[in-house]
């Protein structure tokens, strides 16, 4: 048989297999954990940012400004290297530490967006639901948040894109996500083929991220037009 498609070099298959079977699931695992964590903590904190308690608001504001202000790499370093020296109970593996770091950052973003979305729900909605006998919790649970969440959809999709891209920072502490598996492959190839093939490998990593991110950024732009 004459191959119509030029066959790939021999080193490609095992590398691709490793990156897709170990790296990509690792990336998605960190991203999934961080997305859920950011959404839950962020919506709660953002809603609490609209209540009438100065000390509570100040505390949440501090949380938001600190985790938004720090580079994510620094947050992950603090979680991974500094927390264990404070207490042994705070020792996390690289995956968990990366997910925690991304969650701290992501929840701060979501809190800020939620505050805006909850604040944009007309005052009458609060008053009407209070008149129906709902308490603060019921008012937010059944009336305010369902409407606010709709407005939060576009920023959530943008957050997802950012979280997926930022999972690569977990490479620095050695979590086996896509970039890390690519880096390990390049290192191993140096010994077997005397060439790192780094250009092809990092190029491929970029392509995979592009294929995931591009449709999502389009979706975010579309939702922004549709929902607002």
């Amino acid at each position: 048989m004459v191959a119509l498609i030029p066959s790939l070099p021999e080193w490609v298959e095992p590398v691709a297999r490793y990156m897709f079977e170990v790296g990509l699931p690792g990336t998605l695992r960190i991203a999934g954990l961080a997305l859920v964590g950011s959404a839950v903590i962020g919506v709660v904190l953002g809603t609490l940012l609209t209540v009438d308690s100065r000390p509570l608001r100040a505390a949440i504001r501090l949380y938001v400004e600190v985790w938004r202000g720090l580079p994510i790499l620094v947050t992950i370093f603090v979680v991974f290297f500094a927390l264990p020296s404070a207490s042994d109970a705070l020792r996390f593996d690289a995956f968990t530490a990366a997910a925690i770091g991304l969650t701290l950052w992501g929840s701060a973003q979501v809190a800020e967006a939620t505050r805006g979305a909850v604040g944009s729900i007309p005052r009458e909605q609060h008053e009407a639901s209070a008149a129906l006998g709902f308490g603060w919790l019921g008012r937010h649970r059944y009336v305010i948040l369902p409407q606010a969440l709709r407005r939060l959809l576009p920023p959530f999709v943008s957050l997802l894109v950012n979280i997926i891209q930022n999972t690569t920072i977990a490479q620095v502490i050695g979590a086996a996500e896509l970039l890390e598996t690519g880096e390990r492959s390049a290192e191993r190839l140096t010994f077997t083929t005397l060439d790192t093939h780094a250009l092809e490998i990092y190029g491929a990593v970029a392509v995979v991220f592009f294929l995931i991110s591009f449709p999502l950024t389009r979706l975010a732009a579309y939702l922004e037009k549709r929902l607002i």
Partner: protein, 224 residues
């Protein structure tokens, strides 16, 4: 129990090294902020005015940069390009990658800003006998530039935070230096505490300045 005791001798030993590292963080930040502003201004204008070829190439540039992680971009340039004979030193890669990233986001910021300028303003410019360039410089830029200011300053803050990723190419900025000091003589609280506080001071100072600048440069309501 959390044991929190600060060893102050840490700062007399490593203070100088850390300050030099903050200097390098700020140096790359300033170069990248200026570079990204220029790239964003030129390409944003090309996008908004739909200048053929340049506009399409700028759109591709923006999508590629925005949809790939900056850390992968840094790896590609620093570790990937040498296999095709392009070897750049850490400082060059630092300035280049951070500028290219910020430039893509600023292109979008400025494009949106320029497109938000009502067309009748440009027509007014034409009616006054202004050429295309003069209309841009005297009408579109002052108004659209101010609309683009808040998002582009957010991009600048991200640019500064992204310099921490230069850790991976061994450029001795703040994150790399604090990490290495801790690796040599583990005083975790002091190293990572200093690291975090230094970034917060830089970022919070920037966002404070923004609010000042925003209120000074805000468009008079007349113009809207």
């Amino acid at each position: 129990m959390l044991a929190v005791t600060v060893d102050w001798s840490y700062f007399s030993t490593y203070g100088g090294e850390l300050i030099a590292a903050i200097g390098r963080t700020l140096l790359v930040s300033v170069i990248a902020v200026v570079g990204a502003a220029l790239v964003g201004l030129v390409l944003g204008a090309a996008r908004a005015h739909r200048i053929p070829v340049v506009s399409q190439l700028a759109a591709i540039y923006v999508e590629v940069i925005r949809n790939t992680p900056i850390l992968v971009q840094i790896f590609f340039v620093f570790f990937g390009l040498p296999s095709v004979g392009i070897t750049l030193d850490a400082f060059t890669v630092a300035c280049l990658t951070i500028t290219v990233w910020g430039g893509a986001f600023n292109t979008e910021n400025f494009r949106a800003g320029f497109e938000a300028v009502p067309n009748r303003y440009r027509e007014a410019g034409a009616a006054l006998g202004f050429g295309r360039m003069r209309t841009f410089l005297d009408v579109t830029l002052p108004i659209g530039g101010r609309i683009a200011l808040p998002p582009s300053i957010n991009t600048f803050i991200s640019v500064v935070k992204n310099t921490s990723l230069l850790y991976v190419i061994g450029y001795q900025e703040l994150t790399y230096t604090a990490y290495n000091i801790n690796a040599l003589s583990p005083r975790t609280l002091e190293s990572f505490g200093t690291l975090a506080v230094a970034y917060l001071v830089i970022v919070w100072t920037m966002s404070g300045l923004i609010r000042l600048l925003e209120s000074r440069l805000a468009l008079p309501t007349e113009a809207r």
